[in-house]
Symmetry: D2
């Protein structure tokens, strides 16, 4: 039986780099993987982009209504037909944007289809509330592993504070992909509470 892993970390903790490295580790051993990410993450369209300068296209995008297990099975079958080879691992970036059902399907891929699933994502939004996908992963993943990064104060960052035009904001939609006006800063709980005015 394989496992479902949730490798979580604040924004800019290197999750995409870690995912691309994990894919590389498999492929260097002549094992094949599939990469996917939720379609909601429009940053770079089909690309997974690491801030270290490495990038790569995903094999498929996961729309909200997609049956992840069925889609994965059909891609595994197609790969088998084309190459005669199997798929050793499914890697998912921005996994916080999966639906709850899709995380259940990811668990089934691991447990019932015996293929490990590595899901990378953030735990919480800019108000410290979980996303649907990350909450479900926190509930049912076999293994919760943290990728660390630092706060401006030197402590471990955990929360993803949102800035509009460089000012911290504490209301708005849950999803606002970072871009021109919206940016994020990973903060430790102390700096986050301080910025939010709880001190």
């Amino acid at each position: 039986m394989s496992k479902l892993y949730f490798r979580h970390g604040a924004m800019n903790s290197g999750k995409s780099t870690a995912l691309l490295q994990a894919a590389h580790n498999y492929e260097e051993r002549d094992q094949h993987v599939l990469l996917a990410k939720p379609a909601i993450d429009i940053k770079g369209e089909k690309a997974i982009t690491s801030r270290l300068g490495v990038d790569r296209e995903v094999d498929f995008l996961i729309t909200p209504e997609l049956d992840l297990r069925a889609e994965f099975a059909s891609r595994v079958a197609a790969f088998k037909k084309e190459t005669g080879k199997g798929i050793a691992c499914l890697l998912i970036d921005e996994a916080q944007f999966l639906t709850r059902d899709q995380v259940d399907q990811a668990l089934e891929i691991a447990v019932l289809d015996n293929i490990p699933v590595l899901a990378y994502g953030i735990r919480t939004d800019f108000l410290t509330n979980g996303f649907p996908g990350s909450l479900r992963l926190l509930e049912i993943a076999h293994s919760l592993e943290e990728l660390k990064t630092i706060c401006r104060c030197g402590r471990k960052a955990m929360f993803n504070a949102r800035k509009m035009d460089n000012q911290f904001v504490f209301d708005g939609e849950q999803v606002a992909i970072d871009g021109v006006n919206v940016t994020y800063e990973s903060l430790c709980p102390s700096c986050y509470l301080s910025e939010r005015g709880s001190l």
Copy 2:
């Protein structure tokens, strides 16, 4: 700055034993701790009971409307007045039954009042959905640490399947404290899905 720890594990993984051991470790060093648990957990009333045969009363029960940070502060102050000494740690059993606000208050105790909080609890209910307290802990605890136990098949147990009169049931209220008719069995995802009929 201290931290909020969530030490989670399936039922019967030894969480209460671990909590009592942690309390003992502090006290052996002449450091003082407070123990608490949600009032909803009526098993043994004020007692924390370890299946190894050790038990101990909590210092206070946490009712749903309680302001955990204020209550803790007042108990720390009372202890200080009585003994001249401080409190080194707050230990919470059955932390899945905390409210979301109380988990936020636990984070504030750690971050703003600089006293570590060790919260022990299960991740999910008998349907694999989180409890309010455990979901919030999974979102904001500094450290997620798993206490392991085994499934009947020898794999790591993760889910808490409910039995009524010794038959697995998959509908009912989220909270049903184990007793005469209701029991729980910790299962790995594979055995859980199998019992639920997903295979």
Copy 3:
């Protein structure tokens, strides 16, 4: 394939309690375990004694020349003959006192005989140097898991400082079981270096 686990922690971190809890978790599920400890640990003779007040006799003592894998296999066979049942786990207390060969045999029990081995012990002696058994476990165990306890300063304790007649000492034999004159205090690196005079 099963795994070899090294659950390490400073003295008085609750290792024996954790071992007895793990044994209990198996037995509660009608699975059988064997408990062992190196014969060098004469504290309580054949007993594993938890500071929480629980104790239990080991099934066998491990003398330095013992072939652990052969001994375990013979005890598994005897148990099978007597009861018709298998052994689900080998639990070893004070594993730092194993020889290197015995740790290799423990790995073989896990990998070749497919029975998990849970080894509990301290990493280092009173001078911060590893014991033969703990060094080998740190080299080859599948999983290194820390059981935490606190230093008098509130930080995590890591080192096991020795006291003779209540004074810290920094020379002497590697093994001196705690008793009347010799005691140990678990310290964090900062307090340890301070006591040793490095500050």
Copy 4:
């Protein structure tokens, strides 16, 4: 007080990538780091090279007789003089090649000078025995964190088997940097024992 971290993993688990990502995480926050590696690792001379295609020069090489704490302090002072800024972290690649004294000095940098030290390296040589630096790190690092990679069989790789002209060899010097004739393959314990002829 800062901590000494040992992030260990079998060869080709992505340690250099993780180190470069960690450096990037600091620098993105306008915090400065120093990179170092033992001089014995001649692969790429002063470069740390990630198999993902990223590379970077270390700030200094660590020769066996170097006092790491003094050297680091002098470089911190020089950086301060030149820029007015401090150093937030020391990152060490191939840390298994440090001397025991240098690991003690790394602990002092963390504990006494309050600067975190992230040491990346492998646990063991091609015969599963520790290197001087990795053994000392396993003994005294605050945090032991594993970077995972896979064996050809799909399990987690742990051991670093050596090949000469593509044949596994089980005798030879501890250090043989991989190059034309010598290569390494990361194996799980089962595959390693099988290749070594223990099955």
